[in-house]
Amino acid sequence: MKILCVLLPHFAWRCELRRHPALAGRPSIVTSTEGSQKLVTDFSPDLTGLLPDMPLQQALALHGEAGLLLADTPYYAAVFNEVLDALEQLSPLVEGADPGCIYLGADGLQLIYPDDNALAAAVRGVVKDFAPLMGIAANKFLASLAARYSPPDGCQVLSGNVDIFLTDLSCDILPVSLKSRGKLRDFGLNTLGQVAALPPGPFQSQFGPEGKRIWELSRGKDATPLYPRFMEETIEASAALPSVTVSLDAILVAVESLLGNIFHGHALKGRGIRSLTLWTRSWNAEHWEKNANFKEPAMEVKSAVTRLKRILEEYPQPGPVEQAGIKITGLGYPRGRQKSLFSDIRAQEHLAEDIKQLELKLGNPQVYKVKEVEPWSRIPERRYALTPTNR
């Protein structure tokens, strides 16, 4: 297996740079809110001493001159998806591991790209705006290390005996738990070479199940498979609220309207919603989003709204909302249902579902209920009307 790893350092900041070219050459920090704390999400490459997820106060203590940008996660995700889409034109196996970290399956591409440099050049052409680091190796771990230590805008190929490359690397680069990293330090094991030199049995007995993985990684062995991107159909809709609001009802009306459009459009094709992401954007550009999964696909606006209402009530908005949106990521058909012993309880539900199916098949309301319109009217036909049962 040959894997090409593409690292896009400072991905969030570079997304911002792409949107606001004026940021070039200006130190800036991308921040996000976690509970009541503001954290560093990313920063411009010229700022030294900063780490992702460190408190913003600490970052500002080091770089008080830096400008602040609020993280726009959906935008970064959209840009990342664009990059993955473009890379899929080069290789059918593309895994977006994390924002800014991509793995490509490079096997069998030699007819298109005669050597690794040609493939790297093609990839560089796609991601040139993001100052990529690239590495090619036999597995994901080695490919990521090769990329991490490759020259800027370059590509490092690891093949053959990789022990020399690994031996002096710090154990801190291992993708393992913090607990294991701390334990490695406690044992005075600071480099991969030191770990690799130990016999596997005693090492595993000290480090437990993760010990085997640490020992294998230190020898450049990684059996983690490539998880190519799963192509899923998504439906997105968003709306700007008429005015900036903190009212839950107003937000809910917007959400209901979006769902109504989706359900009455043709995008669902008779399917229900299995999972969706509800997001809002505050007037100060803060992003809020929550995922909702439905045990049974939501086949109508009402059932989806009930759930989303609860989410909106449980997770307060970070500020007055000016935009709300929905991203439906999971679609599915309703499952066959087992008959209940207490048939009366579910009869109404089944009836409604059957009627809906009938209407979808025949295209028009088929079952009506009698509704009082003007029961006092002297004109008999004005007293009652038949209305579709699902309205």
């Binding site: 094709k269 209407e359 979808l360 295209g363 009698v370």
Partner: protein, 94 residues
């Protein structure tokens, strides 16, 4: 599971209940019903009741009807009315 045919559901598909049905009625010289044409002609044995409604006179199409509760020769009861605007006859439960 039925695939969505893509047909649009009409938003306001309301249907009136007890809509009047056109009926052929023979009248006498005074304008009173004497026979109705159902599957076959049936004579009206007696007029049991009679009332008039005038409504919505402010609208372009006002309602003005003369209702009759009649007993047919076959002992069947029915309610029919004459639309005083168009002159047509209709059957309708009241």
């Amino acid at each position: 599971m039925v695939e969505n045919t893509g047909k649009t559901l009409r938003a306001d598909a309301y249907k009136p209940v007890n809509a009047p049905e056109a009926l052929k009625v023979a009248e006498d010289a005074a304008g009173l019903p004497v026979a109705v044409r159902l599957k076959q002609r049936q004579a009206i044995a007696s007029i049991e009741d009679k009332w008039r409604i005038d409504d919505e006179w402010w609208r372009a199409a006002p309602v003005s009807r003369l209702y009759y509760n009649v007993l047919l020769a076959s002992w069947q009861r029915m309610v029919l009315y004459k639309d005083l605007v168009s002159g047509s006859w209709y059957e309708q439960e009241y």
